[in-house]
């Protein structure tokens, strides 16, 4: 297993280089360093000198990929791509283009992101799996049929509708919680409760349907018939036999998401005004802050790879047939 993990970590290096390269290329297809400087400095008092100064201070005065004027290895190293990328692999993200320290921002914004993402994730999982089990226990009845209809309807509705609808109903009409905003400490739950509930409701349709399919597939297997032929009750068949086998496909989808919970949600955070990493990324994209965008994409990739490795490890916990080599 150790050898397997080492190999997977080694595989991650080319993946991360590739992700970094693509982010870099895409960003500079639509932007030039001059655009970035104008954006940051503001349109009014921009002079060519100011732009040059801004670029020199932040290291954007070099060529993008190949420095034709330099010699030897400097041809490649004296470029924006190289100088900006190499520190990334040591997890040193440096300063944002507006001058603030990125690592520090990430540390402070991680809390609010997790405060929303973690409860949403856990509650969603619990609610959707419970609903799915319910539908499967009542399979081929009207409850199952209408349950699926409701699920399809719910997954067809845009998540924006749930957010705006929730804000309008709960916050504006009933005045139960603030529409948006965030504060730390004991005051936080007041701000968190609405985005979490909206997040859970928005995921019910797709989640329930997905888990229902998994359970239905398992419940028609031969070993389930064997369990019933032993005289076990339907509930024991469900929880003792089906659930454990169904965990295998469920884990594929679930474990991989866990590390990326740190990144928060782009849409939820910006709509509810939560100062998390999701809204940080959105703001950076809007202000063309390359340092932040690149750092967030990089961290996202790392966390995703970690999620995939965790998924493989979790298989060994639920499926005795899997041995990592």
């Amino acid at each position: 297993m150790f050898a397997y993990i080492v190999r997977r970590v080694l595989y991650a290096i080319p993946i991360l280089i590739g992700v970094n390269l693509i982010t870099f290329a895409l960003f500079f297809v639509v932007n030039t360093p001059d655009d970035m400087a104008r954006m940051q400095l503001g349109i009014k008092r921009v002079t060519p000198e100011a732009i040059q100064k801004w670029k020199a201070e932040r290291g954007y005065d070099k060529p993008l990929f190949i420095n034709a004027q330099a010699s030897g290895t400097d041809k490649l190293t004296q470029t924006i791509f190289y100088t900006k990328s190499i520190s990334m692999f040591a997890f040193e993200f440096g300063r944002a283009d507006d001058g603030r320290d990125i690592a520090n921002e990430i540390r402070t914004r991680m809390g609010p992101s997790l405060a929303i993402a973690l409860p949403t994730f856990v509650l969603s999982l619990f609610v959707t799996i419970s609903f799915a089990l319910l539908l499967v226990l009542f399979r081929a009845t009207y409850l199952d049929f209408w349950g699926v209809v409701v699920c399809v309807a719910m997954m067809s509705i845009s998540s924006l509708f749930y957010i705006i609808g929730g804000q309008f109903l709960v916050a504006k009409l009933w005045n139960l919680v603030p529409i948006s905003g965030y504060s730390g400490g004991l005051d936080a739950p007041r701000f968190l409760v609405l985005p979490v509930i909206v997040g859970v409701i928005g995921g019910i349709g797709a989640g329930t349907r997905w888990y229902r399919t998994i359970f239905l597939e398992e419940i028609n297997r031969d070993y389930v018939r064997t369990a019933r032929a032993k005289g076990l009750s339907e509930v024991r068949v469900m929880f003792g036999h089906v659930l454990k086998n169904a965990m295998i496909p469920i884990l594929t989808g679930v474990v991989v998401v866990i590390p990326t919970l740190f990144l928060g949600s782009l849409i939820t955070e910006s709509f509810f005004g939560i100062p998390g990493l999701g809204s940080y990324t959105i703001d950076a994209i809007n202000s063309q802050d390359f340092a932040v965008v690149r750092a967030m994409v990089f961290i996202g990739s790392v966390l995703y790879i970690v999620g995939l490795i965790l998924t493989d490890i979790s298989y060994t916990l639920v499926d005795p047939r899997v041995r990592l080599q």
Partner: protein, 665 residues
Amino acid sequence: MTSLFEATELSAQIAGAHGTVRAVDRVSLAIERGETFALLGESGCGKSMTALAIMRLLPDGGSLAGGSVRLEGEELTSMTEAQLRDLRGGRVAMIFQEPATSLNPVLTVGRQLGESLAQHRGLRGEAARTTAVALLAAVGIPDAARRLDDYPFQLSGGMKQRVMIAMALAGEPELLIADEPTTALDVTIQAQVLDLLADVQRARGMGMLLITHDLGVVARMANRVGVMYAGHIVETGSRAAFFAAPLHPYSRKLFAALPKAALRGQRLETIPGSVPRLDQDFRGCRFADRCPRAWDRCHGEVPTWHVPAQGQAVRCHLYDPAQAAPAPAVLAAVPEQKPGNADAPADLLVVDDLRVHFPVRRGLLQRAVAHVRAVDGVSLRVHAGRTLALVGESGCGKTTVGKAILHLIASTGGTVMLAGEPVSANEPSRLAAMRRAIQMVFQDPFGSLNPRMRIGEIIEEGMLALNVEADGAKRAWIVEQLLQRVGLDGSMAARYPHEFSGGQRQRIAIARALAVNPKLIICDEPTSALDVSVQAQILNLLRGLQHEFGLSYLFITHNIAVVDYLAHDVAVMYLGRIVEQGPADDVLRDPRHPYTRTLLAAVPGIDGEFHGAAAAGNEMPSPLAPPPGCHFHPRCSQASDECRRSYPEALALGAGRVVRCHLYR
């Protein structure tokens, strides 16, 4: 005194998309203590549904539709679900066909056994563990205490079925329902499991309802037999009476469709048409449309039970004492000449020292640390116009040989010569020529045809790929001819595979192989997924094609009866090597290698006489670590020290026979 078990007029139906199907229709049977009642029938006849109806475990949409089921006089059909749960796995236990999927893959053997013990005997903890070990030991699992913590995937197929039996015995049942308990197992393992079932039945005085499609298994195990067709029982009788003289025309057809040596060179009997749909009300005999002896009455009046002889009952108008049936049409098989025997056979395919080794990769750099010698020095000759059967149990490497000959997998060493020309994967032109000359028909007709292609396209594809026929209209004509030749309608080319039955699909697969005019067809278990009556059709077709086109077959199979009927030569394979080969008659009548003898002895014959239990007590070792010396020595009763040391050289016994065994040095 009441019977142990009695089902009277039991009916079950299943609601489907196309109306309600009466899968079990007024089935009556009785089983005494210590007796085995075999329910015999082909797939889809309702025999498994009968078992599930008794257990009230019908699939979704299924329900009882009348009748009564009594265990020691106690009515089961009116029991509540809670009472039924006490019954299931307790007084009535069940084992299933496929041990690989019938055990929960993520729970240990001990846990699964423990569930039954807790449910029905209230045993938990140490007491449960002790009992579980005793049960596993009782079903012949060595080192039972350690096996308790194993997961099903760590056990072989035969061991899994033993675990299933132990689980069934855990509730101390009075009636055991065994649904095709050995169908998924190799014949030597089948023999062991049948022995075990007979032993535990005798020791406990259980009644047993044995569901099977295999006449050999019935002959071996049953006290009484019921033949099931289209949802109801058409004939019952004692084993002796049934095998001496089956009464119902359907039963007789089943016997006649069995391939055997005595029928060599003759057409096997087949049953025309297909099983009627069960969503209708029958006004006549269900078998009438396919019955060679049916007359008006059979179509207009449902037959009742007649008892023409002591202990035998049949549901057929032929046996109505009040009315004499018309004289039977003469159905004597017309003997045909044996194909390909006239000329001195030339070698079409010569395989010399073929090796296929699969690397086992481990560690950080995925280096090959060992090799699985799936095929380890196999030499074969297929004569023009003749059939060579490659026989062996699952895992012996016989399918790999077929694929390696076609270069569907890369061989590690050895040569393949086709009509005197060497075939090498390095020369694309030669490879294409070889693929034109050798085609393959696969085991599973449901998996081997692309479900998204029309069957015309499937048949045509080979011609296109190998540039056999460039003209589209000509190709369409060939496709039509081929479909007709394999017994289908030429207009079916536009249909998709799912519209066909298993037997029809295998015909399509054969037509596909024929499309490029091959000289040799490698048939990989082409009939093992089919019912006996359908198997007979396919074997007839293959034999007819050989006769007509002078085809050669390399027939890969585990079914000795098919070999006996069809093959001219036989090669017996064990753990990657050929242990014995020669003309079919010689090898099968006078086997020399102990493995061949074991294999032949394990086949249950329908003559009712069993040739003694298979001597090989163990199962086939892993090809990853074959035993040193002769691979067979751990299972061989005649093994000597020499056998443990060295693998025997090939020894020619004359008349084309070769055996690899130290006994004959």
